[in-house]
Amino acid sequence: MTRILSKQRLLTIDPGCSEVFIEKQLSEKTEIVVGKGAHVRHYRLHEDLDHSLDVRLEENAVYELITLHRGNGNLTFSFDLTGRGATCRSDVVYVLTADQQTIIRSDVRHNADKTVSRQLVKGAVGGQGQAVFEGGIFIPYDKKEIDGAQQHRALLLSSDASVKAVPRLEIYADDVKCAHGSAIGTLDPDQLFYLKTRGIDESQARNLLTTAFLNEVLDTIADEKIREEFKQSAIEGLKNNV
């Protein structure tokens, strides 16, 4: 079942339930509790927004978030894996242009054994846009069989754009697999040249490569209608930008 949420503040998903949520209008703060064995797919699309999201995952819960953020804003994410065997995926795409500024802070806390977290954050920043991504993963000393991964990648679409990545890994346990990485770069001149030799002009080529970059996240949205809406929104966010 797909539900469209508007300005929801507290959301509790009953044990064993499977739900898909789409959110476009958000209040300042949302809290979500994903009950034992429940499976939630959560899609968020927003522009110019300050917001915090707190998610708690109980035993064997699966929570999958894909957020597309455009424009200004302070976003704070907190994912608390409190139940054994919980799995949290929290992907973010951000698109900035002109003089837009955004700060994205994310904390993933592995507070139970056998918990898994995956996070892929991808941004495209043009104009004089400025983005900061602070990504934390916390693993307490007594937790076992933890598997965490965080990747941040950003494209600078103009020479005045800037992106800063601040990873914060606090790993006190031994029985841990944890990978993280951040890469900030520009469009590849060889790829642009290849596209142009086929007759595609500079701006179309830049657009095609930038959307392809962001679509690594957006293409994983299972529902075609939602996927196309998100992809279209990303393209709009990139207009006059690439």
Partner: protein
């Protein structure tokens, strides 16, 4: 009538290093020309200059294509005018499917020509027919361009792009290199299918068997130290096969 492609006294540098030193060449409509020469003689430089690669600085001479100054045109304008380079090392485009790539490329041409964009049905028809002829599966069209494909598959996908875009002037830069016997035949077949009185080819290759059996060129040019030092027909292939480039290199120095 002047030639389709007319290159006259072309000199090209990369950084401060001269690569082409007064190269002249003319190719008429419908002709297949081959450029041979030892490594480092400037063969790939020539193909990249024809496409408009900015790494190469043209310091003298001219290139006319269909009586227009090619050197004044941007990379994409040259492509739309009908120049196509099959890359020696095709570039990977993660996240871009071959189908999307070709849609952008075709529509860019149509837009420049003041035509309407292709509708989805005509587009699919156009690429499916050509994919089938070249043994390219639907799955290959959906996968990101050149990502995770073998050398042979990449070259086949270059041939496919050429078939979809129907360029007037095809430059094939070592399209047979690194391919097994069967893949070389597929590449050669692609050229055979495409051959027409309205289309010319400039083929760069070291593979004499490939040139003799698959390409069957009209003219052969030997490039040494950035200049054409010999022009001829198929008999040049036998000469090179037997004696290598030594004799030509002496000529170039003298």
């Amino acid at each position: 009538m002047s030639a389709w492609l007319e290159i006259k006294d072309l000199t090209v540098k990369v950084g401060d290093k001269p690569i082409l030193n007064g190269l002249s060449l003319s190719v008429n409509a419908g002709e297949v020309h081959v450029i041979m020469g030892p490594n480092g003689s400037g063969k790939s430089t020539l193909s990249n200059v024809l496409c408009g690669d900015e790494h190469y600085k043209v310091t003298g001479g001219f290139i006319d294509f269909k009586e227009k100054n090619l050197l004044e045109m941007s990379v994409e304008e040259r492509a739309r005018a009908g120049i196509f380079l099959a890359f020696q090392h095709p570039i990977e485009l993660p996240g871009v499917s071959m189908a999307t790539f070709m849609k952008y490329a075709l529509n860019a041409r149509r837009k420049a020509a003041g035509e309407k964009e292709l509708d989805a049905v005509s587009f699919m028809k156009r690429i499916k027919v050509r994919a089938q002829a070249l043994g390219i599966s639907d799955e290959m069209l959906k996968r990101p361009v050149n990502v995770g494909f073998s050398g042979g598959e990449r070259k086949r996908l270059e041939t496919f792009q050429m078939a979809v875009l129907e360029p007037d002037f095809c430059i094939l830069d070592e399209m047979d290199s690194g391919l097994d016997v069967d893949a070389v035949k597929v590449a050669g077949n692609g050229v055979k299918i495409m051959r027409s009185p309205d289309r010319s080819f400039l083929v760069i290759s070291h593979n004499i068997k490939f040139l003799k059996e698959q390409i069957v060129p009209d003219k052969i040019h030997v490039l040494v130290h950035g200049r054409i030092v010999a022009n001829g027909g198929m008999e040049l292939l036998d000469e090179i096969d037997q004696n290598g480039y030594a004799a030509f290199q002496k000529e170039a120095v003298a």
